[in-house]
Symmetry: C2
Subunit: 222 residues, 2 copies
């Protein structure tokens, strides 16, 4: 396949994903998609078969491109800050997107086969487990996490910060609930006294950063 | 409305839920539903409007009747056993049903509005939180759970035993994973030394019960 054709097909998929996300894909014709992606309708039918197969591909790609938080380790911060930062990102992500995405999928009428979803969940979970396990081991060595079973730490952190209905449910049931509360609840059983200090320092630092960002934004607008 | 009519309509809903669960509802006609529920088609249209509105009601009722585990407190067992039993039931339930239900919903093409789902999640979560909080308080008093924040215990227990993708994901990623493992991982950070003994006693008792049940079944078949 020529580079040009490959790029055209990539545009078709990108467009379909965007249209799927905003729930416009159902009402779009292959003609419109072809026009917007600068691609012939014949090529679309040849490669994707039908509009509904393209719909299915878009649904799957939309889940896969769910821009889940990635862990970022740097030399500037210790392993526990890396862990807190990753968990903060996960909570914020799940609280704002996951439920919406789930509902969108429920309403999308897309036939997403069990196998696709299972494969996606598996890959996502493998990544998260590996991302959490390294910093957990180091934070135990540094005396910030309590020295019990690493697997129990990983289980508590992943489920405590990643249970969608719990995060969103709590957000709805309790208007005072926010990422700070969820982070404190999750880590309360896991941290040593020194680790608790590190958690409060992390929350305070992120708070100060948010205030600075708001000030900058205000200054920019004036 | 007469009692007889009310019962007829109840049969219509029950039938629709069953048909929805087994994915037969889509292909069923109102005639068939009326015949099986011993009810006139006119009544069905009068009350439910259309087949697709009945479909929507069946989808919602199917979620609501999801026979989620309820907590059972008895005088025969302590609060920690009540808690372990509830968590065991939750893990087994989520591992075997939740993903299936989710996929079924994804594939059902039912238009389940965000509001319905949110309301359902809220009510379900309120029940679970209340069910867990009582035994947690008592188990802390009895010296079986570590004496930190009750809310952190509740958070750890609910998310550790109820995060669907986690439970099912772990089950898939790790063939050795089962409800015992998930229960041990969840409670490891929460229990006192005495509580750990109680957990192992619970697991051993449930194991013995399962062996007894298998023996009885074998004896019944011979």
């Amino acid at each position: 396949m020529s580079d040009k054709k490959t790029r055209s097909l990539q545009r078709v998929v990108d467009m379909a994903v965007e249209a799927f996300r905003s729930d416009r894909l159902r009402d779009m014709s292959i003609n419109v998609i072809a026009k917007e992606a600068r691609c012939s309708t014949a090529t679309i039918y040849e490669v994707f078969g039908s509009k509904w197969q393209l719909y299915r591909i878009a649904a799957k790609a939309s889940i896969e491109r769910g821009d889940h938080p990635r862990i970022e380790e740097s030399n500037q911060q210790g392993s526990i800050e890396t862990l807190f930062g990753f968990c903060e990102a996960r909570i914020v992500h799940l609280a704002s997107h996951e439920r919406g995405r789930g509902e969108h999928l429920l309403n999308s009428r897309a036939d997403i086969s069990g196998g696709d979803m299972r494969d996606y969940v598996q890959r996502q979970l493998s990544y998260i487990r590996e991302a959490v396990e390294g910093p957990v081991r180091r934070a135990i060595d540094e005396g910030l996490l309590l020295p019990f079973d690493v697997a129990a730490h990983v289980h508590a952190i992943i489920s405590g910060t990643g249970f969608g209905p719990m995060v969103t449910g709590n957000y709805q049931l309790d208007p005072d609930c926010n990422w700070q509360t969820t982070l404190r609840l999750t880590f309360a059983p896991l941290l040593t006294a020194e680790g608790q200090v590190a958690l409060e320092a992390f929350v305070a630092r992120r708070w100060a950063e948010a205030v600075d960002a708001a000030d900058e934004e205000k200054a920019r607008l004036h």
